[in-house]
């Protein structure tokens, strides 16, 4: 430190030699001892020869009311200085002769000092004492400036973090509120729908069994025939049987092929041709029920993401959490081809909310990367499987491995580690409400499960694989 200073400025070295080498004006301060207290009279200018000091300031009045502060008033650190630095510069040269801080030794410290008795040495050549100490004063001013800039930056950062935390809280409260209201509304729709369907079935059965049958067929319609194929069949029936477009469409649903068509008797067909609307009525109720169920699923997922229940349970279903995440991202997933392979897996000890958060972030990133990279035929393949790892004694051996493979752009070697850091993004600006805080959260959550995440990326594919231990030591100890 001292050598550095010499190199920087020879006049500082001269000051030290001339004014601070008198053994009579040196001082030893034990670690923790106070050199001078705030407000105390001081006629000395100190130079730290060895060790370090800290300056603390405490409010002399209670903030906001102007009353004198008693013990326990707020104290904060103003600065820390090491060997080679001057202390009490302002008090000494301004003529205030009162310290504006408590100066405390952070370790056993050696100080040298001058006081007001000391006369300027070689005044003819070097000027007055103040003039000789000008470099020290400038140095002190610069240090104070740096401190203020540092404080301003820290304050700004703290304010930003606070604002973000506040936003997240507001958002999650808002989400919880909306989820609750929607849940009730959808619940009413869903439950009453069943009631309406039930009543209609009874009424129709009494009136006309054929219409009642049509209604039921529409209500329980589970045709697996793809829509495009159904349309072809309907067009054929329309042409060949001379039926109306709407009636033919219903017939295609009930009998999507010749075999099924032959099973229907004349009386049923004749009634169908004229009264196909009963089938449509049943089908409408079915669609409404499906929509209500879908809405319930989304509300549930949103609630989880908002952090409804954040306790780890021993029977978390990984596949269910994957489905929840896909539910939330229905719209993003629409634009890509999705392949899933979810076998039956044992439950793990986990918080489903956190799992959904992890999956949502990974899936969303994959979709965004493919979209921004202009990937042709974007495909995301999600696989869940059991994974056995042996060899490392200290780690769990049995995992559930969930892999997300996409054919999007390669992640360059240089940023593979960076993408897990907070605030790292490759995304262009856009109107996009993120559901999470990105891969940093993914890593944090997975670490907390003693799991790990693996990233491989080349021209063919980019794969994020998450390993979650089947049982951790804590969970087996709890159980």
């Amino acid at each position: 430190m001292f050598d550095e200073l010499t190199g920087q400025n020879a006049s500082l070295q001269r000051l030290r030699d001339v004014y601070f080498s008198d053994p009579a004006r040196t001082l030893h301060v034990d670690k923790g001892a106070m050199v001078v207290a705030q407000g105390e009279e001081s006629h000395r200018l100190y130079l730290i020869l060895q060790g370090s000091l800290a300056a603390y300031r405490h409010e002399e009045t209670i903030p906001g009311c102007g009353l004198p502060a008693e013990t326990g008033a707020r104290t904060y650190e103003v600065f820390r200085v090491e060997a080679g630095s001057y202390v009490c510069v302002q008090s000494f040269f301004s003529g205030a002769f009162h310290s504006s801080n408590d100066i405390v030794a952070l370790e056993d410290t050696e100080l040298a000092y001058i006081d007001t008795e000391v006369q300027a040495v070689d005044e003819e050549h070097y000027g007055s004492l103040e003039h000789q100490f000008l470099p020290v004063l400038i140095h002190e001013l610069a240090a104070r400036n740096r401190r203020i800039f540092g404080h301003a930056a820290e304050k700004e950062e703290a304010r930003r973090l606070l604002q973000r935390a506040e936003m997240a809280t507001t958002l999650s409260q808002l989400t919880a509120g909306i989820a609750h209201e929607l849940n009730n509304a959808v619940g009413v729709i869903s439950r009453r729908m069943e009631f309406v369907a039930e009543q209609l079935t009874y009424c129709l059965a009494e009136e006309n069994p054929l219409n009642s049958k049509l209604f039921t067929l529409g209500f329980i319609d589970k045709s697996f025939t793809p829509a495009a194929e159904l349309r072809q069949i309907a067009r054929r029936y329309e042409r060949e049987l001379g039926w109306t477009q709407d009636a033919a469409k219903v017939l295609a649903h009930i009998a999507p092929n010749e075999v099924e068509l032959k099973k229907l008797d004349r009386k049923f067909l004749k009634n169908l041709r004229n009264n196909y609307r009963f089938w449509e009525l049943g089908h409408d109720l079915r669609d409404m029920q499906i929509a209500a169920r879908h809405a319930t699923g989304i509300v549930r997922s949103v609630k989880m993401l908002g952090g409804g229940n954040s306790a780890r349970s021993t029977d978390a279903d990984v596949v269910e959490s994957l489905n929840d995440a896909m539910n939330l991202l229905t719209n993003k997933l629409k634009r890509i081809r999705l392949e899933t392979d979810f076998p039956d897996l044992p439950p793990i000890t986990a918080d489903v909310t956190e799992l959904v958060q992890v999956w949502t972030n990974i899936i969303k990133n994959a979709c965004d990367a493919m979209e921004q990279g202009g990937t042709e035929q974007p495909t995301l393949s999600i696989r869940a499987e059991l994974y056995h790892a042996d060899g490392l004694r200290l780690l769990p051996t049995d995992y559930i491995r969930v892999s997300f493979t996409n054919n999007g752009p390669t992640i360059p070697e240089g940023i593979r580690e960076k993408i897990f850091q907070p605030n790292f993004t490759t995304k262009k600006l856009g109107l996009d409400f993120g559901l999470g805080l990105g891969l940093a959260i993914v890593r944090r959550v997975i670490d907390s499960y003693k799991g790990c995440i693996e990233l491989t990326s080349d021209e063919q594919a980019t794969c994020f694989a998450v390993y979650l231990p089947l049982s951790t030591e804590e969970s087996s100890a709890e159980a």
């Binding site: 829509a227 495009a228 349309r231 109306t244 477009q245 709407d246 089908h283 669609d287 499906i290 929509a291 719209n331 629409k334 634009r335 890509i336 081809r337 109107l431």
Partner: protein, 157 residues
């Protein structure tokens, strides 16, 4: 008589069924066709054209797997065979950019937001149907009951 067709495009069958149901008052004077995606719609439109029939209106969703509604309507707009075809975007989640593209590249005639009012979609379709018939020089008289009278009067005078 040539068949006048309206094609509705949506990847969600339930939504498609609802649109078709709302437009049912137009049948049987016009034929309602459905398609579950962009390719599906384009091949259907070509098929209709080859049979010598008309594609009067295409009503498309925006977000669909593969290509978007705007892309579909842009392709239709660029195809001389469908130069009179009227185009409607029916969507609940078009971004600002989507909307700009829909107007500039898709040359859409109308934009209907989901969830839609049945009366609104029906009145929009009636108006566009009237314009289509007049533009393509098809005798509008057989369709009087489903045409938009003010549009008809304004155009004929």
């Amino acid at each position: 008589m040539e068949q006048i067709n309206i094609i509705c495009v949506d990847d969600q069958q339930e939504v498609l069924d609802s649109v078709l149901r709302d437009l049912r008052p137009l049948t049987p004077l016009v034929r309602l066709e459905e398609a579950s995606g962009v390719e599906d719609c384009l091949s259907l439109a070509k098929q209709i054209d080859q049979s010598g029939d008309h594609v009067a209106i295409i009503i498309s969703d925006q977000v669909m797997p593969g290509a978007s509604g705007t892309e579909l309507l842009g392709k239709v707009a660029a195809d001389r065979r469908f130069r009179h075809t009227r185009k409607v975007l029916l969507t609940g989640q078009a971004t600002h950019a989507d909307t700009i593209n829909a107007i500039n590249d898709g040359h859409i005639d109308n934009y209907i937001e989901k969830p839609w009012q049945p009366e609104r979609i029906l009145s929009v379709v009636k108006r566009l149907l009237t314009l289509y018939l007049l533009d393509s020089g098809i005798d509008h008289r057989p369709y009087m009951s489903i045409l938009d009278q003010p549009t008809l009067l304004a155009k004929l005078h």
